[in-house]
Symmetry: C2
């Protein structure tokens, strides 16, 4: 097996997903810390900023290689670059946005996706009124275009921001078009083949689970 640069270990195929999901948090904390002018950072500082224990951080990073120096900590910009590279954020990913209602518009206009190497490359909506709307240099396309347009543009990521009763249909169209991953804002569990990754964003569920504790407080 070839040795990867920077002493990066040849990738264990079984890195837990939960570790992968924490990497963006580390990246974010590193960005903040670098923004404050620090050049190096210890796992304890990273822990304070990210809310994840320092032992956890060291263990997580160890899956990918050895990035620190005993007594010194991590070179912050280098660690950030490492993590971005591991996550594939050192390139640009095109995204299909499905649904251009309130949520879809908020997503399209949200600056936070852009510096994060995502570029919306197609927008779809089922509402005739919205089709044709210009958004930057894009035009909102009809829902029926999803599969063909996604395939033609070679888009690998889809965002679903449609009402719950349309979500599965849209997901099927995206999958038909060949996306490999879907971010789902609709409050439904989507069916997808094993080779398509789905992540759910569920603010309502998060609220509903918090009220459990509030109700408990009231009862006790």
């Amino acid at each position: 097996m070839a040795r990867a640069p920077y002493g990066m270990r040849t990738r264990d195929p079984e890195i837990p997903d939960i570790v992968i999901r924490r990497l963006p948090m580390y990246a974010r904390s590193l960005q903040a810390i670098i923004g404050q002018g620090a050049a190096s950072v210890s796992s304890d500082e990273l822990a304070a900023s990210s809310g994840i224990s320092s032992a956890q951080i060291r263990r997580d990073l160890a899956y990918f290689g050895r990035f620190g120096t005993q007594g010194r900590g991590y070179n912050a910009p280098r660690l950030l670059a490492e993590i971005n590279h591991i996550l594939g954020l050192d390139r640009t990913w095109t995204v299909a946005l499905c649904g251009y209602g309130n949520l879809g518009r908020a997503i399209a206009q949200y600056g936070g996706f852009v510096p994060s190497s995502f570029q919306i490359a197609a927008i779809f909506d089922r509402n005739e009124q919205r089709v044709g709307t210009e958004v930057g240099d894009l035009v909102v396309e009809p829902q029926a275009n999803i599969a063909t347009s996604v395939r033609a543009k070679n888009i690998r990521l889809g965002i679903i921001a449609v009402p719950f009763d349309a979500a599965q249909t849209i997901a099927d169209a995206l999958i038909d078009g060949g996306v490999a991953a879907i971010l789902n804002y609709a409050p439904v569990h989507l069916r997808a083949p094993e080779n398509v990754l789905v992540r759910e964003i569920d603010p309502v569920g998060a609220m509903q689970s918090m009220t459990y504790y509030l109700a408990q407080m009231d009862d006790d």
Copy 2:
């Protein structure tokens, strides 16, 4: 110890949070199943609809009591009512929405929160231009009002939909006003005292962690 209705077990104080976070998913699946006209449902059917294994579902429900009948499954409307009760969703919770930009507006206009027993009772924004805007029967208030207004209205839940660099300040104001739980859409880890519950909504992180797998696919 008093016996609770419906054979509900006196609540174990140590029900894992992960179980609580799954209850809204069951509620959602039950709603869909009831909407299709079914009166009873088995843990296998619930599993198919929610994407969670039937064993997990049975185990989760067992924390709260015995709701099913061997050979029959669960009475769907009754189980839904149970779960809603456990989550405290059989009452209405008032919410403070902080930030009335694109995201804040999308949240305010999103129908999905309303039937879920949440009612936005105050909206705040730091932008002078937006203060005074009428939203339903509310008026957007200045950021400086957060603590006093939240306290005056006895609001227990806050939603943070402001840019990341303002999020901690807003969180502090909400906590000052006495909220017990915060839903945070900003991409920062918020500091809060132990008795304040914080849940993070992190679509960008979710996207960033998915690209890890896409990048892997490309490399292999």
